[in-house]
């Protein structure tokens, strides 16, 4: 009987865990994902690589619910994501069962990060090759949160963040343009950030919103996304025109 106790993730002489770093490379090759926290809404937007014509796009959803009040998007190995998401969903229900309360966003993030860490310190397994963006509202307090985890098992809370392909440029954009937003403005900000690296168009972006009043995750329709993208383009054009206008007169 084979024994699975040899560790795969081991330290290098200069203190690196190369398997974890390689996992981060896998994340960097994954599709771009953006998360933005507003005052009363949280938004996740993910790049959708072109779907083959015969594929049923609904089966390839990239933004999923973990519970009524928590949603997750990720970048990296999608098969690993499925495993992690299933475990997280079970944990959400287990928490409801043993503590009679829904999980807080921080709790489930801590659980997912703990899982990711466990797989960097166990025999016979490799780390999960994905980073996640977790959003939701805490029960009772209804405070919105956005968290990110990565293959090393660290997690932290963010006002807005991106992961996956070109995440650095998206993060730069967000740093420059982030401000407290609510409702539709939050959605716009998330889409604008994603459009920095993705071809514009509703069929290349998947967007989902969770608001404090509604609860539950709402996936935006392609038409809705197209409309918002059009708005953003119009605003951009207007800004450009405004810039050019005055300078012509001088």
């Amino acid at each position: 009987m084979a024994r699975y106790d040899r560790a795969i993730t081991v330290f290098s002489p200069d203190g690196h865990l190369f398997q974890v770093e390689y996992a981060l490379e896998a994340v960097r090759k994954g599709n771009a994902a953006v998360g933005v926290r507003g005052t009363d809404a949280v938004v996740l937007a993910v790049e959708k690589k072109s779907t083959p014509k015969l594929q049923d796009s609904r089966s390839a959803r990239k933004i999923v619910s973990l519970d009524n009040h928590i949603a997750l998007a990720c970048a990296g190995l999608k098969a690993d994501a499925r495993v992690l998401i299933n475990k997280a969903r079970i944990e959400c229900q287990s928490h409801r069962l043993t503590l009679e309360d829904p999980v807080t966003v921080e709790y489930i993030t801590r659980y997912i990060a703990g899982l990711q860490q466990k797989y960097t310190q166990s025999g016979g397994v490799r780390p999960f090759g994905l980073s996640t963006l977790i959003v939701g509202f805490d029960p009772y307090t209804r405070i919105p949160s956005l968290y990110q985890t990565d293959p090393s098992g660290t997690f932290s809370a963010w006002k807005a963040n991106a992961t996956g392909r070109n995440s650095n440029s998206i993060r730069e954009f967000l740093e420059k343009n982030y401000k407290e937003t609510s409702g539709q403005e939050t959605v716009k900000l998330a889409i604008r950030a994603l459009l920095e690296v993705v071809e514009s168009g509703g069929k290349n972006i998947e967007v989902a919103v969770m608001t404090r009043e509604e609860g539950g995750l709402r996936q935006l329709e392609e038409a809705e996304i197209d409309a918002i993208v059009a708005e953003i383009e119009a605003e951009k054009a207007a800004a450009e025109a405004a810039k050019k206008g005055p300078s012509k007169e001088t």
Binding site: K87, L99, S122, Y140
Partner: protein
Amino acid sequence: MKFDTSGFETSMPMIGFGSSSDLLDGFSSVPSFDLPRTTDFDGFQKEAVQMVKPAKGTTTLAFIFKEGVMVAADSRASMGGYISSQSVKKIIEINPYMLGTMAGGAADCQFWHRNLGIKCRLHELANKRRISVSGASKLLANMLYSYRGMGLSVGTMIAGWDETGPGLYYVDNEGGRLKGDRFSVGSGSPYAYGVLDSGYKFDMSVAEASELARRSIYHATFRDGASGGVASVYHVGPKGWTKLSGDDVGELHYHYYPVTPAIAEQVMEEAAAE
């Protein structure tokens, strides 16, 4: 948080045979133990339980009212017909905003309440917020359920105040857990229920409620031999619990039923000192 499975974490998670063990991972099974070699397991269980005889000689009660939760208990410990102590603390302070009452085995109640206190504190530290009363009572009920049939004797009420307001749960060694507004546990509970149920109103002041609680305990100690000692009354409000009173029930008797000196027809006078 799941059923306590810290003992079962191995360094070999997910030995690749995948889905079945994966899914079960979340619903970790109750800690397993060796079953006794007998043909009649239920009969054996009954015998084992009878041996320890969870008679629960005591009176404890708790009820929710407008101003929070009122918790009261007697303080007598009896071993059969022998009164082993008149000064047992039957209201256990789990943490500054949660109380537990003790009925059944004193050691069992004390230990498990202390254990619950530890779990509540760990929850606070891990989650940066207090545990709810329903969560705490659920933790205790799960622990007791996993020892079901092994002779634990615990009939307790968990009373506290959390984000959702006042909370009161009854938890026992069978693993049962009930949410309610009024509970009384112990051999004196029928007597306490009589007084409590007839005097209860939701809109009572703290003073009225504490008097009702005290009177209920007193009446139970009067009729039930296994209850006595001191009637302690605690109040749990939004800021935590406070102890309101602890009166000896013997003295309480004369407080409720003062002795009126009979009017003597003839008075004996002291003989002159000669």
